[in-house]
């Protein structure tokens, strides 16, 4: 059984003089109880993936593929049905930019109470839901501009939890939190999965992914290049890009991957990582396929 089955999802943005290929031919599934972490370099398409599922893409976006939640294809079902049946009810979103996601003229308590009411829950639960997200009840009486970045982050998390959706997409939900609060948030997400829910966690924080994820999908230049059980990815990364990303951690080599990711307006026909890859050779001019998208993976068993 799966909660979400994504098949061949692609998202393109049409600009005046170019087309941005933000997500390419992405296939993923999330089952109840699973915590799937999506990691990858800035700009590789993680938030666009989340926005596509939640129906938040701008008008110049072109979406192909399917994303099934039960019978409903959330990419095709239309705004009305998304609003009525999907958003909040079956799918929650913690957005990446809390500062801009919050209505400036309303206190946290009033936003939270409204969301609870909209989902037929007791608005008096506001304090409890906030506490679950690690936010003290006192902070709910402030306006968004009076909140610290970390408090605003916990408030948008609380808002997404208020409707108690079976599948939660959390886009960088630990930004600006101190260590104890990061752990609190991660434990909260893990607990949701242990209670039968599921979480798609978008994060730059590889240590966080290692701590709570069951599976990890690594994205590079709009594609998933490696999708494996979390312990395997961290113990023995198979894709050279994954290995390079792990090496960039401040408690490892702290060296950036040389060069830049390719422009999504002019993706190369072969492997998109070739220009930066130490293992690249002539074979890499054609596009690699498989669970590890690489012609020369670091761990060969992973390909089988």
């Amino acid at each position: 059984m799966t909660l979400l089955q994504i098949d061949g999802l692609s998202v393109r943005f049409r600009l005046r003089d170019a087309v941005v290929q933000a997500v390419t031919d992405l296939t993923l599934s999330v089952r109840p109880g699973e915590l799937l972490a999506v990691v990858g370099e800035s700009g590789c398409g993680k938030s666009v993936l989340a926005h596509a599922l939640f129906g938040l893409l701008p008008r110049n976006a072109e979406v192909t593929g399917r994303a099934l939640m039960g019978e409903v294809d959330v990419l095709r079902c239309g705004e009305k049905r998304l609003a009525r049946e999907i958003r909040g009810r079956r799918l929650g979103l913690v957005p990446q930019s809390p500062a801009t996601a919050l209505t400036p003229v309303r206190t946290g308590r009033s936003l939270l109470a409204e969301t609870l009411r909209a989902h037929r829950r007791d608005p008096g639960l506001a304090d409890t839901v906030a506490a679950d997200a690690g936010l003290d009840a006192h902070a709910l009486d402030r306006y968004p501009f009076e909140l610290s970045g970390g408090m605003a982050q916990r408030l948008v998390t609380a808002l997404a939890l208020a409707s108690d959706p079976p599948l939660l997409i959390a886009d960088e939900p630990t930004t600006g939190l101190d260590r104890p609060l990061v752990d609190h948030t991660l434990d909260l997400l893990r607990r949701r999965c242990d209670n039968g829910g599921a979480v798609l966690l978008i994060t730059h924080d590889l240590a966080a992914a290692e701590r709570v994820a069951d599976t990890v999908a690594v994205m590079y230049a709009s594609r998933i290049v490696e999708h494996r059980p979390a312990p395997d990815v961290f113990a023995a990364p198979a894709h050279p890009y994954t290995a390079a990303l792990l090496d960039a951690l401040p408690d490892r080599a702290f060296t950036p991957i040389p060069g830049h990711p390719p422009m999504l307006t002019a993706l190369p026909p072969g492997c998109a990582f070739a220009a930066r890859c130490p293992r690249a050779d002539t074979a890499c001019a054609s596009r690699p396929g498989g669970p590890v998208a690489c012609h020369h993976p670091l761990v060969s068993e992973a390909v089988a």
Partner: protein
């Protein structure tokens, strides 16, 4: 030469956030600042950046005591300090293309047009932004791309001090390392002093010459 806050008391709507806090950033130095959520790190950054007037205490910049904040401070004094905020979406003007965003401080200083164009291209490249991104406006780039445009903008006019408020928390490891490299290079070239607000012990251990702590706030404001 230093950017120094002395005996700062500051807060909002009656509740006090900082009480008698002092901090100094020397030229060329990288100072880490940590403290639990709600301890007033961002407020201290705003005071140091001359964006928030403290209720008591004062800021001095390279030996000169500064009174007031914002437009009460002359532009050529204010621009000696640059800030990189946690949320680029809230900090960037949504009407400007990334190229204009980076160029704005240079134009404000009336630098010649060719100089501005060259400098924008150079800074964007250092920040890892490919050419296709520069004509786009903030809504059409990712958060990390926008943050790197803000970084390029903050370095454009070669500030004496750069204050980074959790500025790389939303970046992946490789981009974080790239931003660190760009800032360190500029520091070595111009002697810029840097304040690094972060919760990440590994990052602070890696980059800060010394790290200061803000005390835990009363539980009610966490």
């Amino acid at each position: 030469m230093s950017l120094t806050a002395t005996g700062i008391r500051a807060g909002y709507r009656g509740h006090s956030v900082l009480d008698d806090v002092s901090l100094s950033i020397g030229a060329g130095e990288t100072v880490g600042l940590r403290g639990p959520s709600g301890s007033g790190k961002s407020t201290l950054v705003r005071v140091l950046a001359l964006l928030h007037t403290p209720d008591a205490g004062h800021v001095s910049l390279d030996g000169d005591r500064i009174d007031g904040a914002r437009h009460r401070v002359p532009a050529d004094v204010r621009t000696r300090i640059a800030v990189l905020f946690q949320s680029p979406r809230a900090a960037a003007d949504p009407r400007l293309s990334l190229a204009d965003l980076i160029a704005e401080p240079l134009r404000a200083l009336r630098r010649p047009r060719e100089h501005v164009a060259g400098r924008v291209a150079e800074l964007a490249d250092r920040a890892g932004l490919t050419a296709d991104l520069l004509t786009r406006r903030p809504h059409a780039v990712s958060d990390g791309q926008l943050q790197r445009a803000c970084l390029a903008r903050s370095l454009a006019h070669e500030p004496r001090y750069l204050l980074c408020d959790e500025a790389t928390t939303m970046l992946d490891a490789s981009t974080q390392a790239l931003v660190a490299t760009v800032i360190t290079e500029q520091q070595q070239r111009t002697g810029m002093g840097v304040l690094l607000v972060s919760h990440d012990p590994a990052l602070l251990a890696r980059r800060a010459d010394r790290t200061e702590d803000l005390p835990t706030p009363p539980a009610s404001v966490r």
